[in-house]
């Protein structure tokens, strides 16, 4: 895929390729960060930027996806109050629901999921963002670094710290779970 296009037909064709290939992933990225009701509008705004700046979109699809995520992140930052526009964009997790699906799963994993859900809100938005880019959005370190406009080294360091912090919160939760009289699967906030 050529990174620059000249004719309107080529330009539209290239945009169509990017649009089709990245739309679902971009929608997922946005849904993790805003109310689902607003997600499609944000994706539309991001794609509009991509159309206007098509020659700046990386040719390689994976890098193009990261580029779109970066635009989406800036778009989300800009919709906030001015004072925190430069802050990280917090990431939400799904609500924990215990049900029949848990029946066939290892109890440790079920309990761990509850601990993660409880620990997640204790993380800073910066750390949530680093972990989510890596684990949920499926980006490599260089791609995630590009989304955040930082170096790969800085991202790896941030991700390492984020994981360590999450682990500490989970350990605290697990220790509390082991206390006599505490339910191991208690999902109440800690």
């Amino acid at each position: 895929m050529d990174s620059t296009t000249s004719s309107p037909q080529e330009r539209e064709q290239r945009f169509r390729q990017i649009y089709d290939a990245a739309y679902v992933d971009l929608l997922g990225f946005v849904r993790r960060r805003v109310h689902p009701a607003h997600a499609e509008d944000v994706v539309g705004d991001v794609m509009l930027v991509a159309w206007r700046r098509l020659d700046e979109v990386p040719a390689e699809l994976s890098a193009a996806r990261a580029w779109l995520f970066g635009v989406a992140r800036k778009t989300l930052q800009n919709t906030r109050r001015r004072d925190n526009r430069h802050d990280a964009v917090a990431v939400r997790l799904a609500e924990v629901r215990q049900g029949p699906d848990d029946a066939g799963q290892h109890l440790d994993l079920v309990a761990h999921r509850l601990d993660i859900a409880a620990a997640w809100p204790l993380l800073s938005a910066v750390h949530q963002e680093a972990i989510a880019l890596s684990v949920l959005d499926g980006l490599t370190a260089p791609e995630a670094a590009a989304v955040l406009s930082i170096s790969s080294t800085a991202f790896r360091l941030r991700l390492s710290r984020a994981r360590r912090t999450l682990r500490r919160h989970v350990d605290s939760a697990s220790a509390a779970d082991r206390r006599p009289g505490h339910l191991a699967a208690d999902g109440s906030p800690r």
């Binding site: 539209e12 739309y23 939400r92 761990h112 684990v135 682990r167 989970v170």
Partner: protein
């Protein structure tokens, strides 16, 4: 539980808790996605004007108030904005040049707000459109612009400008002036941005969106008019070989892609003739 096992379990747990797990679009989502695609492409196709191949690359500034879309193309002026429904209701398409002490006061305020040390920059453009003052200062080590509500002019505490009604930015490595044909202009910067305007107008949004352009003019150019995509024509300030203009806009989005359409210019020349250019 060892660290590796915990990390593996944590990854698995996080993916279980993903609020947007990998999926395919529903038919309804696919229809909406296709409609958005068509809206983006078809509208901009109608407004597309090819840029000149030697058009200078847009520059980025360090912005105190972040832009909605850095480098985004021009914007329209919705009727609502021009009918007084926004903080820019008093905006005028023709600028009023600042004179005398007002020039220095605006520049000093801008420099203080941007926290740019005085390195010998001089004022290039200082104008007022309605209740808003725009100033462009430049020098070999810095170039900055400010758009501010008139009542903020004269306030030199940077904290005064972290509130509503101020937009500004500067670059510490300004580009050298380009070579411009006598009867031409070179647009060096354009942007869509927003000014926090909370409390300025009842029922108004808390962001006043605008678009701005600036650049250089050739020796024979005496006037520059910007033809915005769907809004009114805007008369630019032309002074000291530079031009600058800004106009109220709407927030660029996929719902109104026409505001991102291309614009053109009419330049007026010293011999009385005019010329339509793309900048």
């Amino acid at each position: 539980m060892n660290k590796h096992t915990l990390d593996t379990m944590t990854t698995a747990a996080l993916r279980d808790l993903d609020p947007a797990p990998p999926t395919v679009l529903t038919d309804e989502e696919r229809e909406r996605a296709d409609a958005t695609f068509a809206r983006i492409v078809s509208t901009l196709r109608r407004h597309h004007v090819p840029e000149e191949s030697d058009r200078p690359r847009r520059r980025r500034s360090r912005l105190l108030v972040p832009l909605g879309l850095l480098g985004a193309a021009g914007a329209a002026v919705p009727a609502l904005l021009l009918n007084g429904g926004s903080a820019f209701a008093s905006w005028t398409p023709k600028p009023e040049p600042l004179t005398g002490a007002a020039v220095g006061e605006a520049a000093t305020t801008c420099r203080a707000a941007l926290e740019v040390p005085d390195q010998g920059e001089h004022v290039v453009v200082a104008e007022r459109r309605g209740g808003w003052t725009y100033v462009l200062i430049t020098g070999p080590k810095a170039e900055g612009t400010c758009l501010m509500r008139d009542d903020l002019v004269g306030h030199q505490d940077p904290a005064d400008h972290t509130k509503e009604g101020f937009f500004g930015g500067y670059t510490a490595d300004p580009d050298k002036a380009p070579t411009v044909a006598r009867d031409r202009i070179v647009e060096t910067e354009n942007m869509a941005g927003s000014v926090p305007t909370r409390g300025l107008q009842i029922f108004s949004n808390d962001e006043g969106w605008f678009s701005s352009v600036q650049g250089y003019v050739g020796k024979d150019v005496t006037g520059v008019t910007v033809h915005t995509p769907v809004g009114p024509d805007v008369e630019a300030s032309v002074v000291h070989g530079r031009f600058a203009a800004w106009w109220p806009s709407d927030q660029p989005s996929s719902r109104n892609p026409e505001v991102m359409g291309a614009w053109t210019y009419t330049v007026s020349l010293a011999d009385g003739s005019t010329r339509l250019v793309t900048g």
